[in-house]
């Protein structure tokens, strides 16, 4: 069944729709149609005139009718050409426009000048390097109601009219406003799925809430139940609720609820009140070496007071914040450190360092490789932290860091002390305690797993007392993959232990046994009291920031 498109156009116009909204109700979905609506609507307007002429002069033959049509078309083309030429300062700008009954002016070019200026102002301040953009519209809720009322009128008057074919306001706005905005800001309009830069326009309408009042009559039960649950619904109207209220609405219901049939006189068109520009986060990857035993990974603040003056995070952020022109407070908000685990304050992290990533929220640009090299230099200059390389990575790479946290093994170097004679040795109890060859043998040959197993030793660890107040009490099974001990020349009581552990092993507790809450621990192997003097992470076995690093 053919739907009378001219009639749709005519009725929309009668109700007070702008050209673009007429095209929306006609169901036009080709973006270019919205770039120059004036040209496109002539098709419908002309035919309408033509039909009228034919009605009036039905005595004339078809040839004459064609002539009239052609003449009118030419006239209009000339007119639109004139408009096209004067595009830079359209005469319509001076004229007070009649705001569209549906979109409240949002799709009317005449209302756009201020919006362009506001976008430009934000962009000039933020200076994004990105040469594409996507745009999003936050439209007044009254447009939902008004749109529906016009659709109901069309459904009533035009047989087989399908309101579902309506082109959404947001789409039509992107195609019309977005295209023009592109020329004003010198960037290429793209979809939100492609461009990392999103420009959101918040458009307000003075009578928005007042016009929605009628919904309380139309969907009385819905709003009653909402007001009874006021705790759950702090705001009366949301887009969802407006749509819900309009689900089964009829024109009669609307007429009964509102004198103006919910299309009251528009006192002032909707207006852009704010522009928000955001760039999707960027990511940097690297590895940090921590040389200090008095440096936490992240700021250590207790009861509002700093326990330690600095942190790995702050040292790494400092030069990056400077390149991005962020204040310290802003850096704290916009930079995020994601590391593959963390070491205790008093533990150093040596070797190739610990893998980490930095998430930069709303970045203006990617830093150049020269800047990244400079950042590494600044970070490393303080002598507490060394970062040799920072490279741009993508969000998907972060999964490797998180996965690594559960699966990666780590190699530690521990300086341990033997505090008592081994129960296995028959020695004079008053003689000095020393690390013996037998001790080393007890450690280096110990195995409690099957020959051929990847891990030499399986241990169980209760949640350490030092974290027990904030973590559940659990007994976990962990593995020591490699274990090797050596004497320390010149220090008879000390031993140097290299141990490679599975993720989540508490090495400090293994070194002293933590009141036998970790077993079998180093004291169990030696049958002597032992403790830890110093601990270094020697290697975090994870390929990061790329598969070729570290080469081992």
């Amino acid at each position: 069944m053919e739907i009378d498109q001219n009639n749709i156009f005519k009725l929309c116009k009668e109700l007070g729709c702008c050209d673009a909204c007429c095209l929306r109700y006609l169901g036009l979905k080709n973006p270019s149609a919205y770039e120059n609506t004036k040209d496109v609507v002539t098709k419908y307007a002309v035919q309408e005139t033509a039909i009228k002429s034919s009605d009036l002069e039905d005595s004339k033959d078809s040839k004459t009718l064609e002539d009239i049509k052609k003449n009118i078309l030419e006239d209009i083309n000339i007119e639109s050409d004139i408009n096209g030429d004067s595009c830079k300062s359209p005469p319509s700008k001076k004229r007070k426009i009649e705001p569209c009954v549906t979109c409240l002016g949002i799709l009317q070019e005449e209302t756009w000048a201020d919006s362009f200026e506001m976008v430009k102002e934000v962009l000039e301040k933020k200076r994004y390097a990105c040469n594409t953009f996507a745009c999003a519209l936050s439209a007044p809720m009254a447009t939902i109601l008004r749109e529906r009322v016009v659709a109901l009128h069309l459904e009533k008057s035009i047989s087989h009219y399908d309101a579902n074919a309506l082109t959404p306001l947001k789409e039509a706005w992107k195609w019309s406003f977005g295209t023009k905005l592109a020329t004003h800001i010198g960037k290429i309009l793209d979809s939100g799925a492609v461009s990392p830069l999103l420009i959101t326009l918040n458009i307000d309408y003075l009578d928005d809430l007042q016009e929605l009042e009628a919904l309380k009559t139309i969907a009385a039960t819905l709003f009653e139940s909402r007001s009874q649950q006021r705790k759950r619904f702090s705001t009366e109207f949301t887009r969802r609720v407006v749509e819900q209220a309009l689900e089964d609405v009829t024109l009669e219901m609307i007429q009964a609820a509102s004198e103006s049939c919910c299309l009251p006189q528009i006192t002032a068109p909707a207006k852009c009140v704010s522009v928000v520009c955001t760039h999707t986060p960027m990511y940097l990857g690297g590895r940090y070496i921590k040389l200090s035993r008095e440096l936490p990974q992240t700021p250590w603040i207790l009861g509002g007071r700093r326990v330690m003056p600095s942190s790995v995070q702050e040292i790494i952020f400092q030069p990056l914040a400077e390149f991005y022109g962020m204040s310290a407070a802003e850096a704290e908000r916009r930079l995020k450190l994601v590391a593959a685990g963390r070491e205790d304050v008093d533990v150093r992290c040596l070797g190739d360092g610990r893998p980490f990533a930095i998430e930069i929220t709303d970045p203006q640009r990617q830093l150049t490789s020269e800047e990244l090299a400079q950042a590494c230099k600044v970070i490393s200059s303080g002598g507490e932290v060394i970062v040799k390389e920072l490279v741009p990575i993508v969000k998907e790479d972060l999964a490797l860091l998180k996965k690594g946290e559960e699966s990666k093994t780590k190699t530690y170097h521990a300086l341990c002390i033997k505090l008592s004679h081994s129960e296995l040795d028959e020695v004079d109890p008053d003689s000095p305690v020393t690390v013996t060859d037998a001790d080393l043998e007890r450690i280096n040959s110990y195995r409690n797993t099957k020959e051929g197993d990847e891990a030499k030793i399986e241990i169980t660890q209760k949640t350490p007392i030092r974290v027990l107040h904030r973590r559940p009490l659990l007994t976990r099974t962990r593995h020591l993959i490699e274990l090797h001990a050596e004497k320390v020349p010149g220090h008879a009581q000390l031993l140097y232990v290299r141990v490679r552990t599975s993720a989540g092993t508490y090495v400090k507790e293994w070194a002293h046994g933590e009141l036998r809450r970790t077993r079998p621990a180093l004291p169990d192997l030696l049958r002597a009291r032992t403790d830890l003097l110093a601990l270094d992470v020697a290697a975090v076995h994870l390929h990061w920031p790329n598969a070729h690093f570290p080469t081992q």
């Binding site: 521990a414 027990l468 107040h469 559940p472 009490l473 220090h491 002293h512 933590e514 403790d531 110093a534």
Partner: protein, 175 residues
């Protein structure tokens, strides 16, 4: 090696190396609990609200030479069936200062109760004592501890303030 671990620590005082409990816990003492002479207990407070319960070195237990058993089923409460769930340690047995954690039963028929001395939640019984009861006598301030108790910051702090410190304890022993 680029950053020698030996150079990164101060080794001048290794001979006076502090034990694990001395490093991380503050020792406090309650003497003559329940009016019983030398029924002395020691509480070791970690800075994080965790407390270890032990017998004080002056306890009469250390003077008596007789085999013993440690019974954790006291006054119809089985301390060994204690379980705690999650970060909040839900389900742990509630303790007040008079709650008995275990009973020491000598082979000669004598026995005495070990009270916990403070308000809190029982987190863990030192199960090593079941395998090796001798630890209670040989390592009272380390592997021979009796139980782990969790209290609030307020209780933990006020107990630390009120009870005898290690120095005060040593002084009181000389009297």
């Amino acid at each position: 090696m680029e950053y020698n671990i030996l150079d990164s620590v101060d080794l001048t005082d290794v001979s006076n190396f502090k034990s694990f409990t001395d490093r991380y816990f503050s020792k406090r003492y309650i003497l003559n609990v329940g009016g019983k002479e030398n029924n002395d207990i020691m509480l070791m407070f970690h800075s994080n609200r965790i407390t270890l319960l032990s017998l004080a070195p002056s306890h009469f237990f250390f003077k008596k030479n007789c085999d013993y058993k440690i019974n954790f089923n006291v006054h119809n409460i089985d301390r060994l069936s204690n379980t705690v769930k999650g970060k909040g340690k839900k389900g742990g047995q509630m303790l007040n200062p008079k709650s008995v954690i275990c009973k020491i039963e000598y082979d000669d028929g004598a026995n005495f109760d070990v009270p916990c001395g403070m308000k809190g939640t029982l987190i863990e019984i030192n199960e090593e004592l079941i395998k090796d009861p001798q630890l209670l006598k040989s390592e009272p301030d380390s592997t021979g501890f009796i139980a782990i108790i969790l209290s609030s910051i307020a209780i933990s702090d006020s107990m630390k303030n009120e009870l005898l410190t290690h120095e005060e304890y040593l002084k009181s022993l000389k009297l």
